[in-house]
């Protein structure tokens, strides 16, 4: 059992009797200005956003390339022989050269349905769903800058991880090192992303940051966890302050009505007093009850349309006085459609709106609580990435190839195969996506295990290729494709990499606010409305185990799972907490019940009986 929950419940029971229940408080600041669209205009196109993006990220990708490979500019090339040279422009690439190329990834997906074909087809008044985008084995990657494009290929026989096409999406900015082949493609021997920038270290914590967090990643039911007692002993003090992340409350549908009430009772109650802020990461209301299209609605239909948000407003206004609240719009909410979604309009939430403790945030939402910087969105960017990625997204570790390639230096293609294979081993100890002592195998070490040994020849190539496809199967618990994808976004230093290509966003003219700028570096990155809970810590490439990293959290859909996530502001530990009720709810059975919650549930039952 996690220290957070442990402390929460063991601690709270001790304090239950006292009358002076004081809600934990923490300083708060919203930092959303860059997501604000003041005067929306739609006369411009999307290319300027790509230009802004590459302008912001190119220097950072180059810095990473210098660090990883000792890459030098063309002017320095003569003085530093043997170092890979950075190509100024993609169009200047020439056959046989080894170059470092920085550009925006373009993923060609032949099976992606074309909007043109859709509109050229039979006349229909119904809009077609293009969110279902398929990635296929025919997908190819190119790297593009303002001057042109170059196709990326992996060396023959290289493991899939050498260039995991399926894990990339259009819009990622990266540096690739490779040799231009006679057919004009760039044979990639390594790639790296803009360096992960860490925020300022946390204020002195009460407890040492635990790395054991990831052990909870899959286990909502942890009452029998062996760590229970140890953690309880370790955390002498109750956590100073927690932030509760919840998403997809699903108002407007009867599903989990009771669970929702339990959640609010818990937050408002004595046990929840340590929660200094509740953040709804999208999904206040369930999916629209009416198919809108271009139809004119009847009065009744209009009312029905407005019903869910009114219900949500009433519920939130009841809890808002007792705890600070942030509400972010999500895919189903009646907010703007384009990312960044602007805060839900005040007229939609007239009741909650009256409380100063109630804040309407944007999506993405960037805020600081008690000195901890949170950056998150309501899930659409992650869904968009996964829609354009293969089912098994690898945790992209740019250093996977980088280190050895830099050591190898020269242009000798002949040794590539071996180099690549060794890379896997050489970097097995490198930073990984879901590191944690409680987890036996890290993602990277798992990658290593699927790679053939360094001396393996052609015989093992097929096996390696085959294994690469089943990568996910070998991933340790807790490292899901979804978690990997979110971690990858952090490595790409971009909140929503495949905007605007795979996800509609506002056409920014001179900025790309989704780039994770160094000054905006978060302590916590979260994505709402996810199917399951998951968390991990992402650290800069090559940094040591246990060193500072960024906490990455998948906030599960409450409507689907009945779970919320608690984040300890002192340790950044993230824990899921489930609410379920045997009566009244027709939702899926909750995966487990926590003791404390059970109490609450019983209390709820009594309350219901009392009425």
């Amino acid at each position: 059992m996690s220290a957070v929950l442990d402390a929460l419940f063991t601690g709270s029971s001790g304090h239950a009797g006292t009358s002076d229940l004081v809600r934990a408080s923490a300083s708060y600041a919203a930092m959303n200005q860059r997501f604000r669209i003041k005067h929306a205009s739609f006369r411009q196109q999307f290319n300027q956003m790509y230009v802004s993006r590459i302008a912001k990220l190119r220097p950072r990708a180059l810095a990473a390339a210098r660090k990883a490979w000792g890459a030098v500019s063309e002017s320095e090339a003569s003085s530093r022989r043997g170092s890979p040279v950075v190509a100024e422009k993609i169009v200047r690439l020439r056959v046989g050269q080894e170059r470092v190329v920085v550009g925006t990834v373009f993923k060609d997906m032949p099976s992606r349905p074309s909007v043109v074909e859709e509109f050229a087809g039979a006349y229909t008044t119904k809009a077609l769903d293009t969110r279902i985008v398929v990635s296929s084995a025919e997908d190819t990657l190119s790297l593009e800058d303002e001057s042109g494009r170059v196709v990326l290929t992996a060396p023959a026989g290289a493991p899939y991880a050498a260039l995991p096409v399926g894990s990339f999406v259009t819009g990622v900015v990266m540096a690739a090192r490779g040799v231009v082949l006679a057919d004009g493609s760039l044979q990639v021997h390594g790639f790296c992303f803009p360096e992960l920038v860490l925020p300022a270290a946390l204020p002195a914590a009460h407890g040492r940051p635990h790395d054991s967090s990831s052990s909870q990643s899959q286990s909502q039911s942890s009452s029998s966890s062996p760590s229970l007692s140890g953690a309880a002993a370790g955390a002498a003090a109750r956590p100073s302050s927690l932030v509760l992340l919840v998403s997809d409350l699903g108002y407007g549908e009867p599903k989990r009505t009771m669970a929702r009430q339990m959640l609010w009772d818990f937050v408002a109650g004595a046990s929840g007093a340590v929660i200094s802020r509740v953040v709804v990461a999208g999904g206040l209301v369930a999916a629209k009850p009416i198919e809108l299209g271009s139809k004119f609605l009847s009065g009744q239909e209009q009312e029905a349309l407005a019903e869910p948000i009114s219900e949500a407003d009433a519920a939130l206004s009841a809890i808002a006085p007792s705890v600070p609240f942030d509400v972010m719009p999500g895919a189903n909410d009646p907010g703007t459609a384009l990312l960044p979604q602007q805060p839900l309009h005040g007229v939609l939430l007239p009741l909650s709106q009256r409380y100063t403790s109630f804040r309407r945030g944007s999506n993405p939402h960037h805020f600081e609580v008690g000195g901890v910087s949170f950056l998150g969105h309501s899930g659409q960017p992650l869904d968009a990435v996964l829609a354009n990625a293969e089912a098994s997204v690898l945790p992209l570790d740019p250093s996977l190839l980088a280190d050895t390639a830099a050591g190898g230096g020269g242009d000798d293609d002949a040794d590539e195969e071996d180099d690549v294979e060794e890379d896997g081993e050489a970097t097995g100890s490198c930073s990984s996506s879901s590191a944690g002592p409680a987890v036996p195998a890290t993602a990277a070490s798992s990658a290593e295990s699927t790679l053939p040994p360094g001396d393996a020849g052609a015989a093992t190539e097929d096996a390696a290729a085959a294994a690469s496809r089943d990568f996910a199967a070998d991933l340790p618990d807790g490292s899901t494709p979804r978690l990997n994808a979110l971690a990858n976004c952090l490595r790409w230093q971009h909140l929503a990499p495949n905007t605007p290509d795979g996800l509609a966003c506002y056409p920014f003219v001179s900025d790309d606010p989704f780039v994770v700028d160094p000054e905006d570096a978060p302590h916590v990155l979260f994505a709402g409305c996810q199917p399951t809970f998951g968390t991990t810590v992402v650290r800069p490439a090559g940094s040591a185990e246990g060193s500072q990293g960024v906490r990455v959290i998948l906030v599960p859909s409450f409507a689907e799972t009945g779970e919320a996530v608690l984040v300890d502001l002192a340790t950044l530990e993230a824990t899921s907490i489930a609410f379920s009720c045997d009566i009244g709810d027709d939702g899926a059975t909750a995966p487990g019940r926590l003791a404390g919650v059970d109490e609450a549930a019983r209390a709820q039952e009594k309350a219901v009986a009392g009425i």
Partner: protein, 1091 residues
């Protein structure tokens, strides 16, 4: 190189560089990403200008050792000095010994890809005329010659005047017949007149037709024969050379030209006498196609705002070139010549020029060096080539117009009017580029495919499945003035425009099909490209007549063979029993109906019996046709036309068999091209006899053909309905529901397709027995269900196999006509699908009503309503007698902004908008983009009445009792009330009610201009907001989808989309979304900032 091989007829193919290129890029190249394709050709980039040229000869041709084998592609003639002696010592030199004499030039390619030019000497032009009564060959020939010489001498001017002897010889020939009319065995003497130059033939003909005095005799008029054959064709016919076939010059029969003696640029240049040219028939190994070089190019000009580029003013800024060899899918050369600096393009050779003169000079040089056999592009005939020529003339570049294969011979242009029954009248510029065939793909598409749009974008979308970026010419100038990167962008665009015609050629097998047509009909490829159908039949007719000692008279214009040029009755149509048939309808077709009638009844010029002579013929020698014309039976004398047809159809059977048997896709393509050419040629024979303004019209034949055809259709109907009855033991009485020209549609009354097919086969066999061979009725397909709307208008599911239908077949239905908007096409297609495939008439009706409701409520996308028409010459409305909507619109647009207004040649897209009652239609046209910007409403009623009404009525008429119910009723009534307000307010009703309560249906005026709703509806403000927000969100999502699609299509993320392809289905939509979003965002602003 075949010439270097000493074994004749066994040419060794040299390894082509194109084949040597690695095929590694195949998998990765995406049709959607042109730049990736370019990258695949990077290997070509490294090599310099040297690689433009053909593979060099290993050694010069040795006339003593080498046979020259080549496939020719172009022929022309000139005059020159006669050869001093025959290159073949065993022969004597024919023709005149004093110059100038006509010399033919053949241009072609060997199997090794080397270019060949052969000067063919010794062939003398000639024609025939009848001999006057009492003409004594021994006595009168010389006199005839002298008289003609004298008359001719006074008529010739210019170059011909320098010829010392104009009439070379007059020869009396016996045993000949005119093809016109049946003459039995009676032959006559004709005079063959040889003249010194081809141009003299027409002059002689005029003199002889008008009358010439022979010695002291009376002035006599002569009938001329074969005096209208082009000289090149005459030469081909007499030497059994078909179009584009393989020719062989055996060693020892030709001389090779070297050094200064060369007049052309070909690698092999020879002199040969016509009697030494060996022509190979198209059998066996000679069916192959040589690796012709094809240059596809495109130019970009820097136009001024508001004007179509004018070669007198606007410079040529880029020329992109792609050279491919026939049979190889990879270009051997890709380059782009750019004015100013240009960032390199991977896979293409970018050549920068500082001034336009050197660019044009370099291109002219490039054409000569790369030496293409075929030049192609999109609209090169009427735009690119004339523009370059005129531009070079304006700049005074003297060495530019030498694009042909002859040293020092200028390329010239002339305006041409092309008239053909099949293709209509078309004015064009013809540029004679010696030795090269100019194959304009635009022209080709127009001639061979019926499309709603012939823009390169639309054509590539249809045939290559790729949308093409379309850059307006005003943007081209901006790009040119920009940076090297901007010019690169333009260069990529230009290259793509040069590449797509090449892709079309490959995909549609254009070169192969043309070569086959040339081989089958025996005319040069150039004739196929630039002339109508008639010359092909003429060629076949002349060839056949030559073998039969028949002469073809040269008729004066309108001089019909005994006809007055009166129209005759055409094919018949059995009155359709209109309706919707759910039972299968079997279709019985006469295979090649008209050709088989001509064969069966021996219809020909040479078998037509003069009515006066019918009585003199023995019993059973002839037959009277339904029209009263009498033709001799084939037992008496075989006609020429039936013989030609027999050969064509027999050859087609062989070609089809070979096609099926072929394993090599290239061979299959050749055979398919051939069988198509044969089919088209067979069918054009009938048309030839009926073309009253043609070369040899004979309405006796054509009217007889149609008369037999009509009888046969009626006989078939009668027979089927007589045999297939219940009384005869069949499941039901068969009914012929429709019949047209060569097919009858039979309802056997059986409910299932397999039985219907079986009966169809049976009936076809049975009925065939009624007709003389080779007429054959065939069972082809079953329609089930079948919607018979009217004559020539029907649709149905097409079955050729009993288990599964092949396709939805629709005839005569509004799907391709361009003056229909896309909505009509889509609605008709969808309705047909619903009726025929989904078998849901209710669904079709419901759908139709939904569309009509949407139309009347202005909910349709404007791109569905756009109608396009080409702006004709001189966009001056006075030029058009009746005012036309698109012309008026162009004029109005020019007043608004001369820069973006359409210019002559552009297609003008327009919609019909609402206007006060009584406004003439031509004033109601408006630019769709302008409509969007100004929120003008389209005239939904007009679209309903003028676009949808008729096609929908036709479709539904056989199915529902009262089609007018489709156009009146709830779905129209509800909205007709609404229309005035919502339409006036524009697309978004919200924008209009700026000071009214926004709650739906409230409309209470608000005092506070910033308020959103009235006091009564204040609690509903969230609801009102949500509704407006939902609309905006839907638009926002569309905005994202549409513009990112364009970003993908153009193949670049970092550059803005500049495409203005109006044919693209999303062109208007993306603009509409932009504008509506702006409006909707403003409407939402009333609620105040959300932050």
């Amino acid at each position: 190189m075949a010439a270097a091989s000493s074994t004749p007829a066994a040419p060794v193919r040299t390894k082509r560089p194109a084949e040597a290129a690695p095929g590694s890029a195949g998998k990765r190249t995406k049709a959607s990403d042109f730049e990736l394709e370019l990258e695949a050709a990077i290997a070509a980039e490294a090599a310099g200008p040297a690689s433009w040229q053909r593979v060099p000869l290993r050694a010069p041709v040795d006339p003593r050792k080498d046979d020259v084998v080549f496939q020719w592609i172009d022929i022309d003639m000139t005059d020159g000095d006669p050869l001093p002696s025959h290159p073949d010592p065993s022969k004597t030199l024919p023709g005149s010994r004093v110059g100038p004499v006509p010399v033919l030039r053949l241009y072609g390619v060997t199997d090794g890809g080397h270019s060949v030019m052969a000067h063919v000497h010794g062939f003398t032009p000639y024609f025939f005329c009848n001999s006057p009564p009492g003409f004594d060959a021994a006595r009168d020939c010389a006199g005839f010659q002298a008289s003609l010489e004298a008359r001719l001498r006074s008529a010739v001017t210019g170059r011909d005047a320098a010829i010392s002897r104009l009439v070379m010889a007059v020869q009396a020939e016996d045993g000949l017949q005119s093809i016109m009319g049946f003459h039995g065995d009676e032959t006559a003497t004709f005079l063959r007149v040889y003249v010194a130059a081809p141009t003299l033939v027409t002059k002689c003909r005029t003199i002889l037709e008008r009358g010439m005095r022979l010695g002291s005799g009376p002035e006599l008029c002569y009938q001329c024969f074969e005096a209208n054959t082009p000289f090149t064709l005459r030469f081909m016919i007499d030497n059994n050379i078909t179009g584009s076939n393989y020719l062989e010059l055996k060693r020892g029969t030709y001389r090779s030209r070297t050094g200064a003696a060369r007049s052309g640029l070909a690698q092999v240049e020879v002199d040969v006498v016509y009697d030494s040219v060996v022509s190979h028939g198209i059998e066996g190994e000679w069916q192959r196609v040589a690796p012709f070089r094809i240059l596809s190019f495109d130019i970009e000009c820097q136009g001024r705002r508001g004007a179509f580029p004018d070669p007198k003013l606007d410079p040529v800024i880029q020329i992109a070139n792609v050279v491919t060899e026939q049979g190889s899918s990879r270009p051997v050369v890709r380059n782009v010549m750019v004015l100013g600096t240009c960032t390199p393009i991977v896979g293409a050779n970018v050549i920068s020029f500082e001034d336009e003169r050197s660019l044009l000079q370099a291109w002219s040089r490039f054409v000569r060096e790369s030496d293409p056999d075929v030049m192609t592009g999109y609209n090169v005939d009427n735009f690119d080539i004339p523009y370059l020529m005129n531009r070079a003339a304006t700049l005074g570049i003297a060495d530019f117009p030498y694009l042909g294969r002859l040293r020092g011979v200028r390329t010239t242009m002339q305006n041409k009017t092309f008239q053909s029954a099949a293709f209509g009248r078309r004015e064009s510029v013809e540029t004679k580029i010696h030795g090269r065939v100019v194959l304009d793909m635009l022209e080709h598409m127009r001639r061979n495919h019926k499309l709603s749009s012939y823009s390169l974008n639309a054509v590539s979308a249809k045939f290559l499945g790729q949308q093409k970026e379309d850059v307006h010419h005003s943007i081209i100038a901006d790009l040119q003035r920009g940076t090297a990167d901007d010019r690169r962008r333009l260069a990529v665009y230009c290259l793509k425009d040069a590449y797509l015609p090449q892709r079309l050629i490959d995909k549609l097998m254009v070169v192969v099909n043309h070569v086959e047509m040339a081989r089958v009909t025996g005319v040069p490829i150039d004739f196929i490209l630039r002339r109508g159908q008639q010359v092909k039949v003429m060629s076949m007719l002349f060839r056949k007549c030559r073998a039969k000692d028949l002469l073809v008279p040269t008729l004066r214009k309108q001089q019909g063979a005994g006809d007055d040029g009166v129209a005759y009755e055409g094919a018949t149509v059995i009155e359709p029993l209109r309706g919707f048939y759910t039972d299968p309808i079997a279709t019985l077709d006469f295979a090649s109906l008209y050709p088989s009638i001509m064969m069966a009844h021996n219809l020909c010029y040479s078998t037509l019996v003069d009515p006066k002579e019918v009585a003199s013929l023995p019993e059973g020698a002839c037959a009277r046709a339904p029209t009263g014309h009498v033709f001799v039976l084939k037992s008496t004398k075989r006609g020429i036309l039936p013989e030609i047809l027999e050969e064509l159809l027999a050859a087609r059977t062989v070609a089809k068999r070979d096609m099926k048997a072929a394993t090599d896709p290239m061979v299959r393509a050749v055979q398919n091209g051939r069988q198509l050419a044969l089919k088209v040629s067979a069918n054009s024979v009938y048309g030839f006899t009926g073309a009253t303004v043609g070369q040899l019209p004979c309405l006796a034949i054509s009217s007889t053909v149609t008369a037999y055809g009509r009888d046969m259709i009626h006989m078939t109907k009668e027979a089927v309905e007589r045999i297939y009855t219940r009384a005869n033991g069949f499941p039901a009485d068969a009914v012929v529901v429709y019949g047209d020209t060569d097919s009858v549609m039979v309802k056997f009354g059986v409910p299932d397709v397999p039985t219907s097919m079986e009966l169809g086969h049976q009936a076809a066999e049975e009925v065939t027995k009624l007709f003389p061979s080779p007429v054959r009725l065939e069972f082809e397909k079953v329609y089930s269900p079948y919607l018979l709307m009217n004559k020539k208008r029907y649709a149905g599911l097409y079955w050729t196999r009993p288990d599964k239908w092949d396709k939805l077949d629709a005839k005569g239905i509004e799907t391709v006509r361009r003056d229909n908007c896309a909505l009509v096409r889509r609605v008709v297609e969808t309705v047909l699908r619903k009726i025929l495939i989904e078998k849901s008439v209710e669904g079709a009706i419901a759908y139709t009503k939904e569309v009509i409701a949407d139309l009347l409520q202005n909910k349709l996308d404007i791109s569905l309503l756009v109608i396009t028409k080409a702006l004709g010459k001189a966009a001056n409305s006075a030029d058009y007698k009746a005012k036309q909507a698109h012309v008026e619109l162009a004029e109005r647009m020019r007043k608004r902004d001369p820069g973006s207004a359409p210019v002559v040649g552009d297609r003008v897209p327009y919609v019909i908008i609402q206007a006060p009652k009584g406004t003439p239609n031509y004033l109601k046209s408006e630019d769709p983009l302008y409509c969007l910007e100004k929120s003008l409403s389209v005239d939904a009623k007009w679209y309903l009445e003028h676009q949808l009404h008729r096609p929908l009525t036709r479709l539904f008429d056989p199915i529902v009792h009262n089609t007018s119910s489709l156009f009146i009723g709830d779905h129209t009534r509800v909205v007709s009330k609404k229309t005035p307000t919502s339409v006036k307010g524009g697309i978004m009703a919200f924008a209009k009610r700026s000071t009214k309560c926004m709650f739906k249906g409230c409309n209470v005026p608000l005092k506070d201009a910033k308020a959103v709703v009235c006091a009564l509806h204040a609690p509903k403000v969230g609801e009102v907001y949500q509704l407006a927000r939902e609309r905006a969100s839907a638009l926002e999502r569309d905005f994202g989808r549409l513009w990112t699609q364009c970003q993908r299509c153009q193949g670049s993320l970092h550059q803005d989309v500049i495409c203005t392809a109006k044919d693209c289905p999303i062109f208007y939509m993306r603009r509409k979304v932009q504008m509506e979003l702006d409006q909707q965002t403003k409407a939402l602003d009333r609620f105040g900032d959300a932050w």
